[in-house]
Assembly symmetry: C2
């Protein structure tokens, strides 16, 4: 039967534990090699586990005998042991992939052959100050001195700011195999989880990662303020990089988004990865589900890797006391939509990953707003740690992208638009406001309209007078609904503007409102957004109710009380 093959897992930490969660739901037996009572073993009771370390040759042999497919939650395993058992048991991904990836220099040399863009780097052969100084002249300062092996969560890295730092750097990483890397000036760190199956390379959407103290703090899924084009490019780059390795399963790919919007690969992990924890709540199949399915040749529908709702993942890190992290988790109990994952690692050391929280919401802005109080708690806990002196990464909800664009052909149209702009403001809808003329800046107008949808705009309001071409021309360059406001000019009483806007040819509609009636344009935009956002629809309803009350109760009552003559006198 499809779920009768046993999976052997090297390592029973939190990643192994979450793999076991996935195995449990499919009733697949997972045999874990790690110390007794390691996190993964606590949620899997059977006699197939192996006690020992994933670095012990004999323990790996023992695990191989008890399972059909072997995988690892970590890349720092004994790949020679894997090579030995690979003749008896399926190893996924291949020991070759793990061996190449666990040595970061070899990883990069391998990827270079496949044309993957990476930071320039140089191998150190002698580990002498002279050698590193020469490399420093080639790569420039600052540069990163890195251990080729056993480097993770910031360990094994040293930032070399100038030639003067060289002795300290070599001392900090002495007796390790080293290479140096050119400093990457990036604006955002991105990551993509890739799933390699027997005949496909699939990817989850691109996420944004925030590092603090050299370890992952936050993951935003999908990445904020990243265009769909970059999202697709990052996924393609990640898939291309992973395709360069043999074997099946999940791979974590970390990248830099540079100032010029180019992407550069940072590093690959041959396993499930912290940047993919959000997939448990964020996607229909988590990275752990997908990994297990991939190594067992079970189907993975591509749609199941899409993001169900915007998600923010926050790591819970060990604090100054062994149970400080539980205080963070306790605070998370009161955070709406927060899913809590504690790893049951026992007493915490400062800086150790003890759990994570994922908040999902209808919009990224909402998820960010909901999780912020918890980030504050985590920052406060961090501030109490004696081993850290730096300030926390600043955080806070990013400004939501405007959903309404208001464009005018000339600043003389602004005064007509002001009542509508104020109404949008009262509704809490912050528009993007722009001057762009169909006649004076035709190219910019076309570009602005054509790119509006990809910037998150849902409705465009365009005001113009006379031979009023702006609304119709904007509509010709976008698939978004365009609302046209005819502005009354000096002659023809606005009829020229009205006809120019409303009488569009078949195929290119403009939603026209009354002459100079920017209030109605704004309300129409609010009604359109409100059809898909109950909070805005409530505001439209409240506005109508206020108008009704004003008309009937205030004015109506006053006229009945005063009589129409007195009322007229007071008008």
């Amino acid at each position: 039967m499809w779920n009768s093959r046993k999976v052997g897992i090297l390592g029973g930490g939190q990643l192994g534990r979450m793999l076991v969660e996935s195995c449990n739901r499919l009733n697949i037996q997972a045999n874990v090699l790690d110390a007794e009572n390691s996190p993964a073993k606590q949620i899997s009771f059977h006699d197939g586990h192996v006690t020992g370390s994933f670095k012990e040759r004999e323990a790996v042999r023992q695990l191989a005998k008890s399972c059909d497919v072997m995988t690892a939650e970590i890349e720092h395993v004994d790949t020679y042991a894997l090579e030995e058992v690979a003749s008896d048991v399926q190893v996924e991904p291949s020991w070759q992939a793990i061996r190449t990836i666990q040595n970061k220099f070899n990883q990069k040399e391998h990827l270079r052959k496949y044309g993957i863009p990476m930071a320039d780097h140089r191998e150190l052969v002698k580990n002498t100050p002279e050698e590193l100084a020469e490399i420093g002249e080639q790569l420039g300062y600052p540069m990163m001195l890195k251990s080729k092996t056993m480097a993770y969560d910031g360990r094994g890295n040293f930032r070399v700011n100038s030639k003067a730092d060289i002795p300290e750097a070599l001392e900090a990483l002495k007796d390790r195999p080293l290479y140096a890397e050119k400093w990457a000036y990036f604006k955002t760190e991105l990551a993509v989880m890739v799933i390699k199956t027997k005949d496909e390379v699939l990817s989850y959407p691109t996420v944004e990662t925030v590092q603090e103290d050299s370890i992952c703090k936050l993951v935003y899924a999908p990445a904020r303020n990243v265009s769909d084009k970059i999202n697709q490019e990052a996924q393609a780059l990640a898939r291309k990089a992973v395709a360069a390795f043999e074997g099946k399963g999940a791979f974590g790919v970390e990248m830099f988004l540079l100032e010029d919007n180019n992407l550069m690969l940072c590093e690959i992990a041959s396993r499930i990865h912290n940047s993919g924890h959000y997939t448990i709540e964020g996607c229909a199949l988590s990275q752990f589900d997908s990994h297990i399915r991939a190594i067992l040749d079970l189907p993975i529908p591509a749609k199941s890797l899409e993001i169900r709702q915007p998600s923010v993942m926050l790591n819970i890190i060990g604090g100054s006391a062994p149970d400080t992290h539980l205080k963070a988790a306790e605070a998370a109990l009161s955070i709406p939509n927060a899913a809590i994952h504690l790893y049951s690692k026992g007493a915490a050391k400062p800086g150790r990953k003890m759990g994570h929280i994922t908040v999902t919401a209808a919009t990224m802005h909402e998820a960010e707003t909901i999780i912020q109080p918890l980030i504050d708690v985590v920052d406060k806990i961090r501030a109490q740690r004696a081993d850290i002196k730096t300030k926390a990464q600043p955080s806070g909800p990013s400004k939501p992208a405007p959903q309404v664009a208001v464009v005018m052909g000339s600043d003389s149209d602004l005064k007509t638009l002001v009542p509508g702009l104020k109404l949008l403001e009262n509704f809490g809808i912050e528009p993007a406001v722009e001057i762009t003329s169909a006649h004076r800046t035709p190219d910019y107008m076309a570009k602005y309209a054509a790119e509006a949808a990809s910037r998150g705009i849902k409705v465009i309001i365009a005001a113009a007078g006379g031979a009023a071409h702006l609304p119709g021309m904007a509509a010709a360059h976008t698939a978004l609904p365009v609302i046209g406001v005819p502005v009354k000019g000096s002659s023809l009483d606005g009829v020229d503007s009205l006809y120019s806007i409303v009488q569009m040819p078949r195929g290119v509609p403009v939603a026209t409102v009354g002459i100079n009636n920017s209030i109605n344009a704004a309300l129409l935009a609010a009604r359109i957004l409100g059809s898909f956002d109950p909070a805005i629809q409530r505001k439209v309803e409240a506005y109508a109710e206020d108008a009704r009350a004003e008309n009937m109760e205030k004015k109506g009552t006053k006229m009945r009380e005063l009589g129409w003559e007195k009322y007229f006198e007071q008008m």
Copy 2:
């Protein structure tokens, strides 16, 4: 610390197992009382479990000694044992609540005091044919003969169609305490999960359940074709019923929605419930998470009980062979967005609950469409069972509610609307089309517009000519965007219609398109939907591209080739 109290669970079946999943993620120790290797124990390795049955007094005592709070995955427990240990350990919900609820007659007698609407019922004291015949005359036929105790999944119920069935009914349920219930003619079965905390009664949204062979087959969350009013009423009824019992935790409340839209309580379970399994993927906190938090007095943010995405849950039932259910699960591996939960109960008996699948999607229609092939597999498996002769419940995606309403003041406007209606059809947007006049049917028009949003309408297209009031009046009765199509009348060339529609007062906008231009009205509606539905936006873009190609490539090329004179001749 908040997670250091131990939870004791009576019963280690699938419900206990899913409770343990929730405990595991919070690192709360769950001590399970059940047979060795029961489903819940398989995912919880520690020495706190108790081997035995939740019906054995001594085993319950032993569990009580090992935990701080005791709860049950089933209501058929020994409540006298619970009563005894309640002085030493917290029992949630209270043994009194479980005792009253486990006897369905007592449950109903208790709820009656709180004014909960239920089917009329009568107690049997002598269990004689004469007594039941007399009750039959009072309640009418068909009626349901029910065992007061140990009745679940259809067991303990017998449908009495006429007086002639009475001997068979009494034989089938002999030696059991009985009551009879008036037959309920319902249109839909609804269910609500209620969470009782130390100071609140919270509820999840109302779901729709479909029973087959007297056990739950499908759950639709939220309930399909049920207004928000009924959803709120059902939740209020469920909360009111649960508030009648002492103790904390999850309660499953099943209800009938009658033909007249009134609600009637069917029964309550004092525990997590099959109708709430969808919450694992469908909500931020599952019913299992909430139950554990409620009994431990941990916070439950109300927002976390909202539905994240429409969900369909399908039970996987034991088939004719011990592993047939695994074939259903195997088919589920290929269903997009399907989360698979297998309960690890070993070999299946026909009709036993072996697992469940939940499909989530952006819309209920999409979720229904995605899961249908799996329902077909499950129906095929059921058809092979020797113990069942009836046909499967018919299923299939319900028609999606129209998102666009097209209204006209008179059928004479229809011919103007036809091009637009055809375009909507080509875009795959099926509109609701209606004749309603602002002048001839003002009340109906007002009601239609006012209720449109609650029926799922996102945009209204209204066509009218002359003193064209329909679009503006519809806009005055709804918060939805209204698109107005001025229809050219016999005089004034349509200018009367245009001005009547576009020159609305401030506060009530109508999105006006050109005279007779229903194509643009339809395109505008598509653009509005497309702002929130990428598939529709792609169609709008393709339409514009077709128009560009037609103009530039076909017509332009032809004119260049033929010259304008020949072109004009052929026009």
